[in-house]
Symmetry: C2
Subunit: 318 residues, 2 copies
């Protein structure tokens, strides 16, 4: 038996939607004839690469930051991340006018450090182990009284991520299924909460790199099986599935598909070339899953959440 | 005195809008806080990189192809181009169900040949001189009876290109000025016709690479001064200004600004990184002009037409 943790419900996601709509972009839905032809289906891309900070992560961070009481907020927020979540927390805190403390590994790419500092977050560097990050974060929280905002194992964050699916279904109510990438599981769990509550017969499916298939294995085994140092090009999906997302995904998600590294890179380039938009490797994981027929979608209407577009242009994977 | 040639008027552009709306995308308008901050103005990007074939050229080609009589259409259409116009003509012809003949230099990039053939156009190769292209095209037209669709020196094409500015002003009626790149002049002249007729006090300005500044020099001199083999990274702007566009631009456009190659490349990368969309070097020319303060826009509302996103990902300019 999987323990059922208290996750958000559709009302929480709708509350999040009200909270963040002043600050987050309502992102567009794009389609492509070339994609549809290759996938033998109608694909609707919810383009979170055009979200604030260039990623869906702003939704969850924004909801978490603006859900704090005045007293909590005054002391600020903290997180450890070298990715989009750090930027998302930093921007949300800047908008609310409160401090943000971000713990980053000392070998974090300079461009990411610069981006976080650009949103006026206070950066504390640490060694690049998970242990060092957690210890340093604990110290920062102790010292400042800031609230830790976890990138995915947090009900407010999950509720925020679920808002993308609400918008997607408002614009395209006749979808047969929705596919998202799965890393920590915040987006997939939030999506499943919204989509299944709004449209009980819709399918919600996760897509994951074969090289970081802990969500797939956990889902099949019915217990959390973490992954160790996965070496996938989809850097946003290297994290292991969180406890709360796992609990929600187990109850709500229909399946998880996995794809090869070559297929991720080829699908990423296909989207760049045919749709003229920049997507991260992580976003190409669901695209690869449909191109490789890992998910049964023939003739169906399929929503795919494009999670972000923050790519190092000096290190493209092709 | 500049001779006044018969160009399209707002009614012609509105007719074009009716003709193409079934086939062309109504492209979105994107904004960016980073861009606005750097430009000290509010910039609204009309994103023709998300147009069919990835470029505004589809508007003009589509209008020209669908303006033909049944009898003309039956014999097909022809053009010589190695760029977006060839793809645009090929797709428009495919949609109308008529033949397209495209003359391309034998050294044209394989990817462009493949794209044109993908739209079922019949490709005839020739030597890579302008003379060879024109002679070969003449032969094709003689043999087939196809109608030549010039990429910019054509009133129907110019009317089609003018539809982007109508949409832009429908969505953002309070613009103070509109900037477009200028190569052959089809987009700039079409834009000036729409914008000045809809809003007489709006400014319309062209932006051009210093390395291919024939439109700038022609505009200042009041006579057409062609450019020879310009070596600019903005490959879409290497063509010389056409007669009809020049005549319209002389009467309708407020100014033309020029920018350096370095500035074009840096501005192109800035848009890729901050807006997560793929734009051609040509599109970065107006962006460079506002970043470099070559155009007075402080505090103003500025429309910029992003012309296309067809880029060779294996040959990025940085």
């Amino acid at each position: 038996m999987t323990p059922t943790l208290k996750g958000p419900d559709l009302d929480d996601v709708k509350t999040a939607q009200q909270i963040i709509k002043k600050y987050a972009n309502r992102t567009p839905i794009f389609t492509s004839k070339s994609v549809d032809k290759r996938a033998s289906a109608n694909i609707f891309f919810k383009c979170e690469n055009f979200q604030k900070v260039g990623a869906f992560k702003f939704r969850g961070a924004c909801n978490a930051v603006f859900s704090l009481s005045e007293e909590e907020a005054r002391k600020g927020v903290a997180t450890h991340s070298s990715g989009n979540h750090a930027q998302a927390v930093a921007l949300a805190a800047k908008i609310r006018g409160i401090p943000a403390y971000v713990v980053m590994p000392e070998n974090a790419p300079k461009v990411k450090v610069k981006a976080v500092k650009g949103y006026r977050a206070k950066v504390t560097f640490c060694e690049s182990t998970l242990e060092a990050r957690e210890t340093t974060l604990e110290e920062v929280v102790q010292k400042t009284g800031a609230t830790f905002i976890h990138p995915y194992d947090d009900a407010r964050v999950i509720a925020g991520q679920g808002t993308a699916a609400i918008e997607l279904l408002e614009d395209k109510p006749d979808l047969d299924l929705i596919i998202t990438p799965v890393g920590g599981g915040g987006l997939l769990s939030g999506t499943s909460i919204s989509a299944k509550a709004i449209k009980p017969n819709i399918k919600v499916i996760g897509a994951e790199p074969e090289m970081a298939d802990d969500a797939y294995r956990s889902f099949k085994a019915g217990r959390l099986i973490p992954v160790k140092d996965p070496n996938t090009v989809a850097d946003g999906l290297r994290t292991s599935l969180g406890q709360l997302p796992f609990s929600i995904i187990t109850n709500n998600v229909d399946d998880i598909a996995t794809v090869s590294e070559d297929s991720i890179i080829e699908s990423m380039r296909f989207i760049w070339e045919r749709m003229n938009m920049i997507i991260e490797a992580s976003c190409a994981v669901p695209v690869a899953a449909v191109f490789d027929k890992k998910i049964e979608i023939d003739g169906k209407k399929v929503g795919i959440i494009i999670t972000g577009g923050n790519v190092d242009l000096d290190n493209l994977p092709w």
